[in-house]
Symmetry: C2
């Protein structure tokens, strides 16, 4: 009855609805040693691995971890999260541990040595059979797929109201149709994605017949893979029958529970017994294997293909009810044939494979699929044309001494190195600010639920049990003074408030016109000053005169500052270094000394070469923890002031400053001083935060000597330069020199005290 789906969709141009849906992924992985053997260690201590952890969970045996994404309305978003989760998992492995990149397990120890998790031990009423134990060691990927509800609703209203008693009945029928077709064409997926040509040592039961040669997919073969014998006893002819069959099997204790039922696709709902009355919520696709060539065990491209494939199952004709049983039986045999074929040769089913993929290629065009789906289908078509592009073939070329262990260890090392190298970034979230990425990483590690509310605004939501907190830009939370943004940005008001409260602030004056600023020149002709736009950022438009300026230079600085704001400020230049104090929940958690951009001579390289060398690990526009030192404008001007040039070769050990402002944004260095600075400055910074009612704050102080306490008699030893309510976290996590401070975790601890115990 659902055969005309496609026509209805084309008729009403429902194409965009067709590519909606909800997607979630679960991935199991084995922890191994760098020699490729299952680990005997406990779960990583730095990961809060518990049943309450939403993303990284203990799984079956103590060697396995399950990575679980949230449900998303696009594959793309889901894949982003998967990447982030993989990053966190890998970065928390012990130094000598790796993740096994194959679905088939590495060489297994004696059965007794495989330790079930506490939860699994409680779970199994009977001892787990050896067969079951080993098939559970095959790592699976499961894709949860909800069909586009808007599409089903609209089609029902427009066309199927007469043909079904209720929307629910229509909805369930659509899901059943997809589940049937999915099994019908399952061999296609086994051909395309099969990636288990052999089993490592100890996988087979003693006396079990092994395949004589390499195959496409042991994992997806009925005989060797994770499917269990009960699978064939479940009917997909109707939803009612499906529910009844599973229920019977569980009663007869053929299955530990309904989720044990290992077939390529499951119809899932809130509760099995209410599947018919409440409706199917999603399909659980269970026949995907880990792709050792993809960094995350599966590529986004493959997932895009899966989306197209499932939707194609909805568009293809239905199987007549009376034929379901026989057709699915044939399909199972077809799949077994493909699974156990020699991967180094073309498939015996080349003709139907070709026809099928051509059908899909036409479908994605006719039904205006998004470009990414069309691309994915075309790429899979190449695998059909050329079996040498299938993972099974590629793996067959890596087999050595009847084992893939050597290859797997190599891949595991590559992945490990890739994911532990750029640890200031979290893959999948690189478009967010580095501080937001750092906070997300810490949150996943701790076991908080994370959600990006708005990527452009760097607005994320973190949750733990019933508590949730929104954070902007990595450190702006709902706690604290609603006006703090105002007060941070309005330097004049800030200084007034702090000055009144008894804090030492640099002298400053404000001007709306160049004439007014020039009139006061005589007052500035006797001291070092800083000329800056009132609401400037990151040092733009700022001129620093360490020595009293000449009138012309002062006038130029005024003119420059006015390019950035209608109001400019002239402040006294304060001798000393600039320090950033990070306050969380009223306490200083980290202190950085911020120095202007500089290089240290080695007696051989020119200043330009020294800068280029230093810049190698630095980035631009805050994409790395430290910013590149600019080679142009300010640097050159600064050198000229010092009588130097870019081509000068400084004496070995000589420190050459290249900038005036200690802002890290202009290429400066940051040195962790958290435990070194005199505690009186921490107290000072904490009092400033308290005065402005800031819960999280970055307080910038000018300090003459960080080892000498600031006193009530000499408040000028610690001048308050500026305050921000959105302090960067990343600079404390990756200082140029000194110890990293775990500020992301500390911020989470202040937000979610219950999650830390």
């Amino acid at each position: 009855m659902l055969n005309h789906f496609g026509k209805q969709i084309q008729k009403f141009q429902r194409f965009p609805f067709l590519y909606e849906g909800q997607f979630g992924l679960e991935k199991e992985v084995q922890r191994v040693t760098t020699a490729g053997e299952l680990v005997t260690t406990k779960y990583p201590a730095s990961l809060s691995l518990s049943q309450g952890q939403p993303y990284l969970k203990p799984n079956f045996t103590t060697t396995q971890i399950k990575v679980v994404t949230d449900r998303f309305s696009s594959i793309h978003e889901m894949y982003h999260q998967l990447q982030g989760l993989d990053d966190v998992l890998t970065q928390n492995l012990a130094t000598a541990e790796r993740l096994w990149p194959l679905s088939m397990p590495p060489k297994l120890p004696d059965d007794q040595a495989i330790k079930l998790t506490t939860q699994e031990r409680a779970h199994y009423k009977q001892p787990v059979s050896k067969r079951s134990l080993k098939s559970q060691m095959i790592a699976a990927i499961r894709l949860n797929f909800s069909l586009p509800t808007r599409l089903l609703l609209v089609l029902y209203e427009d066309h199927y109201q007469d043909k079904y008693d209720s929307y629910l009945e229509f909805h369930n029928a659509a899901y059943l149709k997809v589940a049937q077709n999915y099994q019908h064409y399952r061999y296609i997926l086994t051909y395309l994605f099969g990636a288990s040509p052999l089993a490592e040592m100890n996988f087979y039961q003693s006396g079990q017949a092994k395949p004589a040669k390499l195959v496409r997919s042991l994992a997806n073969s009925q005989r060797y893979g994770y499917a269990n014998q009960t699978a064939s006893q479940i009917s997909f002819a109707s939803l009612a029958q499906y529910v009844q069959d599973i229920t019977t099997c569980v009663k007869q204790e053929k299955l530990a529970n309904s989720r044990e039922f290992n077939v390529p696709v499951l119809l899932q709902g809130r509760e099995l017994s209410k599947l018919t009355s409440e409706g199917v919520t999603h399909l659980e696709l269970r026949n995907l294997e880990l792709d050792p060539f993809a960094l995350d065990g599966i590529s986004e491209d493959d997932l895009d293909f899966m989306q197209a494939f499932v939707i194609y199952m909805l568009i293809l004709p239905s199987i007549a009810q009376q034929k379901v049983s026989s057709i699915l039986q044939t399909a199972a045999e077809q799949n077994e044939q493909v699974a156990l074929e020699d991967p180094t040769r073309a498939s015996a089913l080349q003709v139907p494979l070709t026809e099928f993929i051509q059908g899909m290629q036409k479908f994605v065009v006719d039904f205006a699929a998004p470009k990414r789906l069309q691309t994915a289908v075309n790429r899979m078509a190449e695998r059909v044309i050329d079996f040498k592009k299938t993972p099974a073939y590629l793996l067959s070329q890596q087999v050595s001494q009847q084992s893939l262990s050597h290859f797997a260890v190599k891949q595991a090392n590559t992945t490990y190195n890739d994911q532990t190298q750029v640890v200031y970034q979290l893959r999948g979230y690189q478009d967010l600010s580095l501080s937001t990425q750092a906070l997300l990483r810490a949150a996943i590690q701790v076991g908080l639920h994370v959600e990006v509310l708005d990527r452009q605004d760097n607005l994320i939501r973190l949750s733990y049990q019933k508590q949730s907190e929104i954070v902007k830009q990595g450190s702006l939370t709902s706690k604290g003074n609603q006006l703090s943004g105002e007060l941070s940005a309005n330097k004049t008001v800030l200084k007034k408030l702090l000055g009144e409260a008894g804090f030492a602030v640099p002298m400053s004056a404000e001007y709306q016109t160049q004439a007014a600023a020039l009139t006061d020149f005589s007052d500035y002709a006797k001291r070092g000053i800083v000329v800056k736009p009132r609401c400037g950022h990151n040092g733009a438009g700022v001129t620093v005169f360490k020595l009293p300026p000449k009138r012309a230079a002062y006038a130029a600085a005024v003119s420059t500052a006015f390019k950035f704001d209608q109001t400019i400020m002239v402040e006294s230049f304060v001798v000393g270094s600039q320090y950033r104090f990070l306050v969380i929940s009223g306490k200083v958690k980290a202190v950085l000394e911020q120095t202007p951009a500089n290089v240290v001579g080695d007696g051989r390289l020119t200043i330009q070469q020294l800068i280029e060398k230093k810049n190698l690990t630095r980035g631009e526009n805050q994409t790395k923890p430290l910013e590149k030192i600019p080679l142009d404008g300010p640097t050159a001007a600064n050198l000229t002031q010092q009588g130097l040039q870019l081509t000068t070769i400084p004496v070995r050990g000589n420190l050459v400053y290249l900038g005036d402002t200690a802002n890290p944004i202009t290429g400066g260095d940051s040195v962790d001083m958290t435990t070194d600075v005199d505690v009186s400055y921490c107290h000072l910074a904490e009092r400033v935060a308290a005065e402005l009612k800031l819960t999280v704050a970055g307080i910038d102080l000018f300090i003459d000597n960080p080892y000498k306490a600031v006193t009530d008699e000499h408040p000028e030893l610690g001048m308050v330069l500026s305050v921000t309510n959105q302090p960067s976290l990343i600079e404390h996590l990756f200082p140029y020199y000194g110890e990293a401070q775990p500020v992301a975790q500390q911020l989470l601890q202040s937000l979610f005290p219950k999650a830390f115990h």
Copy 2:
């Protein structure tokens, strides 16, 4: 020794410093009936008049109020506050009360009928003499003037270090010089500002000799005015002598306390006994009179002149110490002469007056005084040239039956009407948002200390005792969610959060490209929708389709919305009216129904004429509580849709809508519904505010029927449309129809519970 001041200043170009300083003003006023008689009523109950009130204080008798400004670093700022204080005072008078505009009191009752305030009764150890009682009824203006400290400091460092033992000594010498010169040239001020040609009935003691005819200034005459006999016993020859003389007078009980010493100028410090050791803080200039021709009793121009005059006293040569006594004696006689001259003729001192004012004109040019000072001096020069421009002459022309009462009542009424007409504005603060003005008015009335931190940002600070609160835009306080601004502005995130929390929100979708928005057209072809920019404001770029749109109209709306944002939203059009709920401290305090712009036909006027009539009391750009209905673009388009034109004459009583959006900014009406709306909607709005952790919030709901409760079963009866953390106060204070709600006061009450008891 200070004779060369001027040269030093010119040499070092210290001109800007010269015009710094600190300024504060105190003004006494008498409350009178509309017949010009002293009131017998108590102080206005709506004003919190107490000693703790910083601005409006009880004074001497129950008929007097003293208006006291803060200290400001410019006359201009101080004058702004004076205007605001006068507004609040006048607006809180009983309907039949006025403020007497003259320094000389109105007809006095029997001495027994003059009731001292509780505080004054406690203050006087002995019964107040009749003479003193009456002279205290003369209302004075006192200007507190601190000399420019930066100027004194720099001059001392540069030039006077050798000549004085310390900066303090130099500083005190400068103040003393000004005080001496001020008295020396005091007759100038009496001529320029004298405004008391006669006394009303009962002022003179029985048997006291009265002036035979009108004079320039009774108030400033030694014989009749507020100066008391002790004045001449105080020496200004040195600061030490000055302090000793006053102390002696007080000991001999000739003065109730040191502040009673009524001379034209007092040297003031924290404490009289420490004046020498701690230094003079300011001069108290006591010889100004109320100017009945100025709305606020004194014009800003006159105050500007006073600034120039005082600074000129600093520049003029000093009086040699041994000559001080005799010169000041002569000066007092000169002043008495001018004070008691006939105001309808030129002064006998015309020659020295002219020389003096010409000297000042030269001074303000030579010393680069700000233009406002130059203007003020030139205007005073005209009074010297032509006595008919002096207030004394002008008042002499208003005398009728030996009284100024008739004139004074007329002036009092004019002032009263002026200041009670535009009550949504607070003079002196009109550049701030109307809601900020409303909050300032309420704060002054309640007795809070007010301060504008940043006019452009509408950032003010209110204080009571030790507590202070900063408020932005009239309603954004430090309380509440720091992220609320984010959440209010990001409509997508807001809807997501509210939807998840179980609130009904309109359907909405977001698009980044026109193509994507157009693809979904089929989904919108069946219902009313609203197309809008994601982060738009005040209805700009919004198109409303009450009926399902045609494709072309939809495309045009999409294109329009994209002009305002890179992301647009399509929302379902919800039937019902829009209501604004103002939540303060978790409770709904006011509810407005907001209707789109409209006119009601009278059967004679065209739509255009009806709009113009309705617009008469409306403003533009939020300068009035209600906005003008636009005659162009949207209105015309809306009429066309209805088959109407601007020239159509609607039937009498016919309501014609002219806009689609109920936003008051687009000329809509607002109807107070605070007590009418079903309380369930208030609870709904309060829950929304609580969900977003907003202390103060404006919640916009779509409500189908405000009298029918919203229920858990039908949440769609109250849809949450938008939320703001900076709600307008003014629209509740001045609704188009219905009762005003005292929301400014309620907000203050939530911020300063202690100030309300």
